[in-house]
């Protein structure tokens, strides 16, 4: 059966016991994403905090979520939280880019375990185009929330610096 390649143990483990599950405070942004083809959904919160070094690359200090969906979408969101929490946003976005490239590659890109960590387990998804959206549901929600957090924090900063504010 090809299914063991798609549903690797890492995926089934994360599905049965999702990490960082639940919605927590504090957070900067909350988003709600759905997969319109199957009705799966995720509500996801992101908390970014400045490093204090003034390099404009905040740390992802928390991702919390509630989700309803298939094993692939649940597990990929759980893996994302493991990979992202505690790391600088720029690195997480690089990982997100590599993950997206792998799962949309129709099986042509294996992925680099050093970059993707447990995310490498989703390599098999790329051979099933109908499941790519499942694997990306939580990741795209995170990207959306992170971008909104950065935008609102830079808007707040520029407001604060604006002479008319």
């Amino acid at each position: 059966m090809q299914m063991e390649k798609l549903y690797q143990e890492i995926i089934l483990d994360h599905y049965r016991t999702p990490h960082h599950f639940g919605l927590r405070d504090p957070f900067d942004t909350e988003v709600h994403h759905v997969n319109p083809t199957c009705g799966d959904e995720v509500t996801l919160r992101v908390r970014l905090e400045p490093t204090g070094t003034g390099d404009n690359d905040p740390i992802v200090t928390d991702i919390s979520y509630e989700a309803m969906g298939c094993s692939i979408s649940q597990a990929s969101t759980s893996v994302l939280t493991d990979l992202a929490i505690g790391r600088p946003l720029s690195e997480v976005l690089d990982t997100l880019g590599a993950f997206t490239t792998m799962v949309t590659s129709r099986g042509t890109i294996e992925g680099d375990e050093d970059v993707l960590g447990d995310g490498i387990a989703f390599a098999g998804v790329s051979k099933y185009p109908a499941r790519v959206k499942c694997a990306l549901l939580g990741w795209m929600a995170f990207k959306d929330a992170a971008v909104q957090s950065v935008d609102s924090s830079s808007a707040a900063t520029s407001d604060a610096q604006s002479p008319s504010a």
């Binding site: 299914m3 199957c38 009705g39 298939c70």
Partner: protein, 468 residues
Amino acid sequence: MTDQLTVSAQEAAVLGPTAGDVPEHSVLPDAELTAAQDGSGSAAPLSPADIDRIRADFPILERTVRDGKPLVYLDSGATSQRPVPVIDAEQEYVTGHNAAVHRGAHQLAEEATDFYESARQRIAAFIGAGNPDEVIFTKNATESINLVAYAFGNATFSDQSAAQRFKLGPGDEIVVTEMEHHANLIPWQELCRRTGATLRWFKVTDDFRLDLKDIDQLINSKTKVVAFTHQSNVLGTINPVEILVAAAQKVGALTVLDACQSVPHMPVDVSALGVDFAAFSGHKMFGPSGVGVLYGRYDLLAAMPPFLTGGSMIEQVFIDHATYAAPPARFEAGVPMTSQAVGLGAAVDYLTDVGMKAVAAHEASLTGYALQQLSANSGLRIIGPAGTADRGGAVSFVVDGVHAHDVGQILDDAGVQIRVGHHCAWPLHRRFGIAATVRASFALYNTPAEIDALVAAVADSQRFFGVG
């Protein structure tokens, strides 16, 4: 009215010199046409040998999927496969007779028009329409329903006296049901939004039937349109058309029947049902994609303003205004999908040859077997009526502890092609607190052995995810 003085293309085809020259292969002998007109045909049960012969007409059923597994196609509710006569009919038309229909006086244009209009006649006979001009070719059932909704919307802003009966505004009501496919829901939501009318709906009971207890409150003097499905594409529930039509007629409301899941699977006679409009798609009844049908009562079509406008649908055109052709031409703007209509005509011939009573009986026996076999699995819940009474061959279910998408993946790996998701009926899934279901849907070419494959693959999915 000038509209009524216009000789329709259909009438022209019948009256014209080419009327007797419709190609022999594209019309049924009279005896078979008579059988088609009662919408049923033979009621003799189909034997396994009959089904084997039928399967041999569908070349795709020979193929394998996912590393050599035999194809078990249980997704005909989404789209059905096509038999050789349908493929051949399209090919014969394209290779020998292709031209723009209803245009030009050359021989190919005449032949093309005859093929196209012959298909219309046979489809009209198949569904019991009183007149071929009551059959409008559309892209699919979705477009058919949108055609009605947009024509009503256009009537709302029309100064034509004939169109006034379709006007909608604040205080008017459109009634749908909670079990509708999005195609018979969103066009009405949008029509309400545009006109200020109010959308209301029948709820679905815990035993998966329409809740008719408040029918007299729901369908009332404010009701202008009652739009409902003949057979739910998720539950399989067959709705009591006669009760809904009677309630609508009592208050003068128009009825729109989504017949996508009924016309391919059982005898349907739109005149006997008394509906004002009915919509169905070619690709769900062994025909091509890209062609659907809107049936409409002729007097209503004749009074309705057009939806899409342009070539072919006109009577006279001036630089600042135009008048419109009689139905069906009024609703077929532009060069239509001709080979697809020809293919749908061949599909109707195919179904007629088998007989719709025989089709329905075979599918009912498959459905009964599937319900029985699936019910034996205690980790599975069927979302739809448990028995075959007033029920068609869409069998949806959820598996405890395994998401529908994951069940579908394991089934696919076994060669069993079913549909997962909300099947374009999100409000219905929400009603039952479910995000997604697994749906097997049957057609004439399916066998009990394929249901065994389904049942076995479902058990595999439970074992794989550790819930079996």
